[in-house]
Symmetry: C2
Subunit: 205 residues, 2 copies
DNA sequence: ACGGCCGCTTTACACCGTGTCAATTGACTG
DNA sequence: CAGTCAATTGACACGGTGTAAAGCGGCCGT
């Protein structure tokens, strides 16, 4: 009752993700997806009335597969603000390369398609909340560098961890994933975390 | 001899820039540009054989108007590495909002158009050289944080100053241009510049 | 075994934006 | 007056998305 109807739909989503991840230079078209899924282009529209809708559904599907929420919310474990920041950065930066293909496609539609823009923004907003939580934990521990308000620090962390920055550093600058993660992590610390020593006072700029 | 033929061409470039800067949600089409320039769409193709070509030409035109080189190379004035870094960041961040509309259009074409991708990459490479020069000056002064190699520091600065980051911080996070510039500048210092205290070694070269 | 529904196919077409082509106009110029 | 050159008019091809309608095969209930 629950696993016979959705069969094709799931297959479509799966092959969509495959193609997006494969990053077929020159974009992934509806026809490509249909062909790969072994159905006609028109059948695609029986399941998803629009390319944007399909992309969005694929993105959600990907999150389910990757158990995004579980991974991005290891907050419970974290004892200190610093630990929490570390955990969040580690989780997100590990997640990034896995969603990149799909994210890029959605990002590209953002400019021309209303629904895609909304979907993308929602996701990024969620991600930003994770940043905010980490920053707040840091702030609660008095380890947030006094130069910034929590809001400002959240914006900074959020921007540092953006898909575009990952893209630029790894794909354009040729950084390995490991180098990327390590460097970003150290940068975040240097930028946002105040020295342990002076837990009480405040810094000289 | 020199100023009668290019008349229309220049007008096209000018109105292209206007439209791009206006950021007419839903993209700027060839027909829009033609209409605005007071010619037919087809006449556009008498001057620029392709949309990408027009966009690229418009970008170059914009650089000329804004005297990009003059602004981005105030290196001669800078006495120290730190000064040079400051000068570069100030010049680039002031330049950014002026080119944003055009940059965004080119950036969007990058994914689908070979020529656009090349043009964009060239420009970003130029910009990166500016970053590199600043970092090298810093390094020569022994003021580059020892955590990074000059290459790495260049990548970091280059990424921090990306168009996408400007877009995110100002347009998405709502930072004012002033806040953006100040914060980025302070971040760059904190991330890349080591404390003045230990100038001890030799400074020049 | 029949009628009906369902998921998918086939075929065809509309729309939009880019790019091409050919014939024409109109102005300026030698 | 002929030539040329910029631009116009109108028509069309292509690729990609999205729509519409008719048909087909399997499966299900009665």
């Amino acid at each position: 009752m629950s696993s016979d109807a959705p069969e094709t739909r799931t297959r479509i989503l799966q092959t969509t993700l495959n193609l997006l991840e494969g990053g077929t230079e020159r974009g992934v078209r509806m026809a490509d997806i249909a062909k790969q899924a072994g159905i006609t282009r028109q059948a695609l529209y029986l399941h998803f009335s629009t390319r944007a809708e399909l992309l969005i559904a694929a993105t959600r599907h990907l999150d389910d597969l990757k158990a995004a929420n579980d991974r991005l919310m290891p907050s419970r474990k974290a004892k200190s603000g610093v630990e929490r920041l570390n955990a969040y950065i580690a989780a997100w930066t590990a997640y990034l390369p896995e969603i990149y293909g799909t994210a890029k496609a959605l990002l590209a539609m953002k400019d021309t398609d209303q629904a895609a823009a909304i979907a993308w923004n929602e996701r990024m907003q969620d991600m930003k909340e994770g940043c905010e939580a980490a920053i707040n934990a840091l702030s609660a521990d008095k380890r947030l560098l006094p130069d910034y308000t929590p809001d400002q620090a959240t914006d900074i962390l959020w921007t540092m961890l953006s898909v575009r920055n990952w893209e630029q550093l790894t794909l354009e600058c040729g950084w390995s994933q490991e180098k990327y993660t390590n460097t970003i992590s150290r940068m975040a610390h240097r930028l946002l975390v105040s020295d342990e020593a002076r837990v009480e006072g405040n810094a000289r700029t």
